[in-house]
């Protein structure tokens, strides 16, 4: 890269120009990635935080808790499997519904209520477990404390018009873009079905990392008339989750495509301007590999540096985003989109690269006389 570094230094104006454009694309891509992650967090962080590995739903529920209704009959085969000697399987019935509640001073609050037996592995912590085991009430996620709610306040759940005390607060999280609340399964059944609950619930939460046990899920499903899916697959059941991630992915994809076109166009023009120089390099004995290494190296430096700047600025801006906007930067998605930007930029420049190899060194002599 003898020539490439010096070109970068001397012709920095034009490289800065294209670098700024690439940085802006990287900035936008990273911000979108943050928004996408934020939206995902807003949609599923509560479910993701639960210590379960799989969920068994009613067959045909399409990942959705609201379309799934199970009974103790469905639960029995799972309980039997979990109770077998030496089994590492843990199961618990889980009820999930969305509610709106009124505070004593007339304000309203939305929450996704997760009902689970107090002694199940799903209870968020010992304090919550103890609270759920006592008189009926709700354990809310920390986020709801910011709305001015406090332990001992009473909430009237709209619909069933049942008034319940706030028993305490536990770790944060949300599901379907509303904050989480926990109750005992009994309270949840009472709110959703009233006196005719008949032990119904939404899904069976499963915890096991033993491959042998996981292999037996099909068999248990057949006996229990349930359909088991992984926790990741169940995220799609969160309201709006699939549409939001698809929209964000589409916008990000278009941005990356535009970036590839911009980078490709710039380097094609730059290569056309350098045609005589490339011919001269070859006339001086440079092989195609030497010339390509020079051109690709230059391209990679510009792409990586500009992308790095864009991502760094986006991360900085991300710190300034208030809690009102769902925004969450995670290393994995950010690095993936930055890497994709660099790779697509390189691919976008293939036309230019092809031109580099096809330049005839004879042009260094000028017109044939």
């Amino acid at each position: 890269m003898f020539l490439a570094w010096r070109d970068l230094r001397v012709a920095r104006g034009r490289f800065v120009l294209v670098g700024v454009v690439i940085s802006l694309v990287a900035l936008l891509t990273t911000l979108l990635s943050g928004l996408a992650s934020g939206l995902v967090d807003d949609g599923i962080s509560g479910l993701r935080g639960l210590p379960l590995t799989d969920l068994a739903l009613q067959p045909g529920a399409q990942h959705s808790f609201s379309r799934s209704s199970l009974t103790p009959t469905n639960l029995q085969p799972w309980t039997d499997a979990a109770g077998a000697d030496g089994s590492s399987l843990e199961v618990a019935p889980l009820g999930v519904s969305f509610f709106n509640a009124r505070t004593s001073d007339g304000n309203t609050v939305d929450f996704a209520l997760f009902g689970t037996p107090p002694d199940s592995f799903l209870a968020p912590d010992d304090r919550a477990r103890a609270a759920l085991a006592g008189p009926p009430g709700l354990v809310l996620s920390e986020e709801l404390r910011k709305d001015g709610l406090k332990e001992g306040d009473e909430l009237t759940v709209v619909g069933p018009d049942v008034t319940l005390p706030i028993l305490g607060f536990t770790y944060g999280g949300s599901y379907g873009h509303v904050d989480l609340a926990f109750s005992s399964l009994e309270v949840w059944q009472n709110l959703v079905y009233g006196p005719s609950a008949n032990g119904r619930f939404s899904a069976i939460a499963i915890r096991s990392d033993d491959p042998t046990v996981i292999d037996s899920f099909d068999q248990i499903d057949a006996a229990a008339d349930t359909a088991t899916e992984t926790k990741d697959a169940a995220y799609a059941g969160s309201p709006g989750y699939a549409a939001e991630t698809a929209t964000m992915s589409l916008i990000t994809g278009f941005l990356l495509l535009i970036s590839a076109l911009i980078v490709g166009a710039f380097f094609t023009v730059w290569t056309i301007q350098r045609t005589r120089q490339i011919g001269l390099l070859k006339a001086l004995g440079a092989s195609n590999i030497y010339v390509l290494r020079d051109a690709l190296g230059q391209l990679a430096v510009v792409l990586v540096a500009a992308t790095g700047v864009g991502v760094a600025v986006a991360v900085g801006l991300g710190q300034l985003v208030g809690s009102g906007v769902p925004f969450s930067l995670q290393a994995g998605p950010v690095l993936t989109s930055a890497g994709t930007l660099v790779v697509l930029g390189m691919i976008g420049s293939l036309v230019a690269i092809r031109r580099v190899t096809s330049v005839d060194p004879i042009i260094s002599l000028g017109a044939d006389s």
Binding site: F2, L3, R6, D7, R9, V10, A11, R276, Q277, L280, L281, K282, A283, L284, G285, A286, S287, N288, Y290, P361, I362, S364, L365, G366, A367, D368, S369
Partner: protein, 238 residues
Amino acid sequence: MSLVLESIVVRVPDGTETLTILDGASLEVAAGEVVAVSGASGSGKSTLLAVAGLLRPADSGRVVIDGTDTTDLKRSARTRLRGTSVGLVFQSPNLFPSLTALEQIELVAHIEGHLDRDARTRAHALLDVVGLTDRAGSRPAQLSGGERQRVGIARALMNRPAVLLADEPTAALDDDRGRQVMAMLVAGAEADDVATVIVTHNVGQLPHEVPRYHLAGGRIDRAPGGVGADAERVGGTV
């Protein structure tokens, strides 16, 4: 002989017909010898240099450089041989805008993969030879036309080529500068034992002892009345 061009034929398409640019041109130049080739515009002087410098293949004939017959060499091997054994001085200096005078010369060693301390020392020495030591850090835009051409000569000599080919090296220079550059080429060729072919219209700028040849009708002939009259010693004609 360091350079042998034997019965070179080059044809190019010209509309529906074929134009013969070189028609059996031959020339031999030994190490340390300098010959000048002149000819009318369009006579094929640059084509002759392109063939001799392995920038384009001949349709027939043989090019031997420093003992290597290049007839059947692949493109990559020709490129390699050009890098190690051929120095080119162009009509316009063809310098890289982003490189300093010293870097223009060092680049040649870098291409060959041996830009080491010795190469850097030689690059400095060559700049000294062409009288540009104090302009080592100047880029082409900061150099005069004559200075640029001198950098081009130093660059062509960097890899101690067996053959030096100069294409109208003084075309853009005034007569005094042109004479200086010609003298520099001859001195460089003699000092490094390089077989040198200078294609030029300005034969008057050449030292008197340099034999002249004339390219016309696609063939090279000894220039009548020039010092080349005794050129059997330094170069042959066919």
